[in-house]
């Protein structure tokens, strides 16, 4: 039925750079993202983010129109800066470009300078331009560039602070919180770039409508130049770490995302090495509990095929973790064309003696075709996998972004040993729901009445 497609993307597994920028900025204290582009970009992103987090999300737009496209967006950008400054009065306005303004070659920095000069007597917010052309790479790079722009503009060398900078990448607020908990267990002072843990999972109150009062502060970003080191949990988001190393001699470590035993061991090892710290009993205990959970779960997961999609470091981390659990990754897909991703998966494949189909720069249509080819018992990824899972009659375990058909996306929790315990329990229970009867025995796929029944009618199809 299907030929090998080459040119188009069908049901994308990635988004554009400005989305990554906004995701990064959601964890910065008192900051307004301003997208220099047409009104639709800001609205589409708010729509995606709001339905994922079920929280109000503010993104300003310069609302470019035909005329301003022809004559340039100077008026729109100045006007938007003025309006946002006067109305919301944020500490930072982060101005991201879009495909529209990049195509017309807008000089954002020049316009921002002009705005500042026109208002020399005023106490303006810090205005940071970030180049995020939507036709280059993906939201992952947008996130990366945004963190880099923040440290480039703000980091200042002063006295050493004995802290460790963590670039989280686009992980859930619950996972950010877990990373902070681990660091606190290790007695490691830290700066989180960026800290969404409180902003996007806050108690209900009217003040939640103001710009975020929590999240990484300007002072913290300034202070990143004085830290012991920077760990980018995502290898694809380490530009700021590399910048800090080159510029200020802050050691830089890239990845891996602490998913499962081995990756979490590495992360904790990196923290301990940078901070010359000892691993405390609490963390050793959590590690032991994760192993216990994995052992308890092994009989249900062993040799089950898993297909995984999402951001590159999430997919490679999850590939390793599911291998540790005894599962067989059959298809692994990320929307970004990344050599690092392919290398990572190859290393895992060699170590764990698995050979998943690797889709780097793939889409969900490719993925579906591969699943039909090599099979999967469970799909791990975001809500866009739902129709694929339904068609293949396998469960979708929802992790990543966006998740709009279930609640509590901000509380999905997979990182570190504790997140690992949660993941193993939840994933195994999903398998139990799907493949086991009420007494806990496996319902054998081929012989069950249901399958025969369905097969009988479905036989003619395809």
């Amino acid at each position: 039925m299907h030929q090998n497609k080459k040119f188009s993307v069908i049901n994308p597994s990635k988004m554009c750079q400005p989305m990554g920028a906004v995701q990064a900025l959601l964890g910065v204290n008192d900051t307004m993202p301003l997208i220099h582009g047409s009104q639709g970009c800001g609205t589409y992103m708010r729509f995606q983010l709001t339905r994922h987090f079920r929280e109000p999300i503010e993104v300003a737009s310069t609302s470019m129109s035909e005329k301003t496209v022809i004559y340039g967006g100077e008026f729109n950008l100045m006007k938007a800066l003025k309006n946002v400054t006067e109305k919301q009065s944020p500490s930072i306005i982060a101005v991201t470009s879009s495909c529209l303004t990049e195509t017309i070659g807008e000089d954002m920095e020049g316009i921002i300078e002009k705005f500042k000069e026109a208002n020399l007597d005023q106490d303006l917010p810090i205005i940071i331009p970030i180049s995020t052309p939507s036709y280059v790479e993906s939201h992952v790079e947008g996130y990366n560039r945004t963190i880099k722009a923040l440290v480039e503009h703000l980091a200042v060398k002063s006295v050493g602070n004995e802290k460790i900078n963590i670039i989280t990448g686009n992980i859930s607020p619950a996972d950010v919180r877990e990373v902070k908990n681990i660091l606190s267990d290790l007695n490691c002072e830290n700066i989180i770039l960026t800290d969404t843990s409180k902003n996007l999972d806050a108690p209900l109150s009217e003040s939640a409508l103001d710009l975020y009062k929590d999240g990484t502060t300007i002072e913290e970003i300034e202070d990143t130049a004085n830290s012991l080191g920077t760990i980018a949990l995502s290898k694809h988001m380490d530009s700021a770490a590399i910048y800090l190393e080159k510029q200020f001699g802050v050691k830089s470590i890239s990845g891996p995302l602490p998913l499962g035993i081995e990756n979490t061991d590495k992360f904790i090892g990196s923290v301990c090495k940078l901070g010359e710290l000892e691993v405390p009993e609490t963390i050793k205990r959590d590690r032991g509990r994760l192993i216990d959970a994995m052992v308890d779960a092994h009989s249900y997961n062993y040799h089950r095929k898993v297909a995984i999609f999402g951001d590159p470091d999430f997919v490679s981390g999850m590939t390793r973790f599911t291998c540790e659990m005894g599962m067989i990754p059959s298809v692994v897909c990320t929307g970004t064309k990344s050599k690092r991703f392919i290398e990572d998966i190859q290393i895992i494949s060699d170590e764990k003696k698995v050979s998943p189909v690797i889709l780097a720069g793939g889409d969900l249509y490719d993925m579906h075709r591969e699943i039909k080819e090599v099979g999967a018992d469970i799909l791990v990824g975001n809500s866009y996998g739902a129709s694929m899972a339904k068609e293949e009659d396998i469960p979708l375990f929802r992790v990543g972004f966006p998740i709009f058909d279930r609640l509590g996306a901000q509380r999905i929790f997979t990182l570190g040993y504790k997140g690992g315990i949660n993941f193993v329990d939840q994933l195994t229970n999903t398998m139990l729901d799907y493949y086991y009867d009420e007494a806990g025995y496996e319902v054998s796929g081929d012989e069950s009445e249901e399958t025969i029944f369905e097969g009988y009618f479905a036989g003619e199809e395809v």
């Binding site: 188009s8 609205t43 709001t50 035909e66 919301q88």
Partner: protein, 505 residues
């Protein structure tokens, strides 16, 4: 002084003309300034023209494949966003092989930097051919321009024409880049024109009856259209073409053969009814099926037109017997509850009176993202004195309206829903619904039921707020008066107001 400068707008005084408080002695032409360019940095809730055409008009068609000519973003965000289900039934009696095909797939050209520099037309061509190969079951291929494409000047119409011949399958290009027009309304217009010019009159229906109608501007949100179809079926009226809920590509091609067009969403689709009337002499009437009163009235009008009065009465009687008692229950519960309706456009005037007259509620505020003058006139006619009418409101205004008008319930979109929750007010998704359908007799009960269960949910009693209301201007605004000198701002804002209704570039 009917126009009101909200506290949060004191730094953006041009917003004043977009906010109007109804007063009965005002001249008729006092309505909010509308359909003008969005003010940069105003935190507008509006979308773009591409969203208007793909998200509203064409996305509901069951048997076409969509190729978005864009960098990855537009394709990604245009995927799986709206709840318009389709049935597999095609007009020729066959079944379309893929369930909810319209919701399931989107294609994009994933434009890269080199395409922006050297042009993206080759890639579009290859992608459309690929769409044809991958989805041979699709009956047409629709392709969309976006901001980048509008700027680099790829000739989408030429490629559509060329490939229609080459593939032997209709390829239609929609030229509504995101930056065109003041809002998504522009995309609706482009969608109407493009479908009319390319399709209407190009095919003949398999059969016709003297009772053939076009149902225009009904997108089958959560099954709305199926509710109305049942009534019309029972009356003996044949839905020859839908535009575009649960519709097939071919249906649009023979819209010219209907005896009458019914225009349901009068903002997004009156254009094509006008064009069909003008060229083919098919008359149209504007219809409204929200609430029992409007639904009855409009079924009667349609019945009268076709001499099917008795049949219409029968449908109305049967349904009223069914829903009447339930509505009484909800009316009792909803009596006096204050409601703020913030729809994309027409629902703000479709629902304001019915909620008051049939459910005893009070409409305290209405707003729209992209309505034009005619819509605001209707909105004004259908609200009481003192009701505030807002054009293109933003989140800060939204907040102020809630604080000041204290609604018990808000009907709005997902971007506003969780903001309302923070202020302790329940919110029903009125664009894509909660537990719809909301149209017709049974649909109105569904809406009443949702409103009742949202307002009376015990969770609202658990909220603990401080008594001090936010003082606008103190916490929010600053005393800053900033400068964007050297710019022709005055000229710009004058131009904004000149934009005529529904102007096409």
């Amino acid at each position: 002084m009917p126009y009101k400068l909200l506290e949060v707008d004191k730094e953006i005084p041009e917003r004043k003309n977009h906010v109007y408080v109804k007063h009965c002695s005002d001249p008729e032409d006092h309505i909010p300034n509308c359909n003008t360019k969005t003010i940069p940095g105003s935190m507008s809730e509006r979308g773009c023209a591409f969203a208007g055409v793909k998200g509203v008009i064409t996305g509901a068609i069951k048997d076409v494949i969509h190729v978005v000519h864009s960098p990855i973003g537009c394709t990604s965000y245009g995927y799986g966003t709206k709840r318009y289900p389709t049935s597999p039934d095609l007009p020729n009696g066959e079944k379309f092989p893929i369930e909810n095909f319209n919701l399931k797939y989107i294609l994009g050209t994933d434009l890269q930097e080199s395409d922006v520099v050297f042009g993206g037309i080759k890639k579009l061509r290859q992608s459309i051919i690929e769409a044809h190969k991958e989805f041979p079951e699709a009956n047409a291929i629709y392709t969309y321009s976006t901001c980048t494409v509008g700027l680099i000047g790829d000739d989408m119409d030429a490629i559509a024409k060329e490939l229609t011949e080459e593939l032997g399958k209709k390829v239609v290009a929609f030229n509504a880049p995101g930056f065109c027009g003041p809002s998504q309304s522009k995309g609706h217009h482009v969608g109407n024109l493009t479908l009319f010019e390319n399709l209407v009159g190009t095919k003949e229906p398999p059969s016709t009856t003297p009772y053939d109608v076009n149902l225009i501007g009904e997108y089958n949100i959560d099954g709305d259209l199926w509710v109305i179809k049942e009534y019309l079926d029972e009356m003996g009226i044949n839905l020859l073409s839908k535009f575009t809920g649960d519709c097939s590509h071919d249906e649009i091609c023979w819209m010219h053969r209907a005896k009458l067009s019914l225009v349901r969403c009068q903002r997004s689709a009156t254009y094509i009814a006008d064009l069909i009337e003008e060229k083919y002499g098919v008359p149209y009437i504007k219809v409204d099926f929200f609430s029992t009163k409007y639904c009855s009235e409009n079924l009667r009008t349609i019945g009268k037109y076709f001499g099917l009065e008795k049949e219409a009465e029968k449908v109305i009687e049967e349904r009223m017997a069914k829903v009447g008692p339930e509505l009484e229950f909800y009316k009792d519960k909803l009596q006096g509850k204050r409601v703020f309706i913030f729809s994309g456009g027409p629902k703000s005037y479709h629902l304001s009176k019915p909620l008051e007259e049939e459910l005893g509620m009070e409409t305290v505020a209405v707003a729209s993202q992209f309505e034009h003058k005619d819509g605001y006139k209707k909105m004004k006619d259908r609200v009481n004195d003192g009701t505030i009418i807002l054009d293109d409101p933003n989140s800060l205004e939204f907040e102020e309206i809630i604080e000041e008008y204290k609604p018990d319930l808000i009907l709005a979109g997902v971007k506003e829903k969780y903001l309302a929750h923070k202020l302790g007010v329940p919110c029903i998704l009125i664009h894509s619904y909660e537990n719809g359908p909301y149209m017709g007799f049974e649909g109105f009960v569904n809406l009443a039921k949702d409103m009742y269960s949202y307002i009376y949910n015990p969770v609202w009693r658990m909220l603990e707020f401080e008594d001090e209301p936010t003082e606008y201007g103190v916490e929010k605004g600053l005393d800053k008066q900033l400068n964007c000198d050297g710019l022709k701002e005055d000229l710009e804002s004058k131009d904004q107001n000149k934009q005529p209704d529904g102007e096409v570039a």
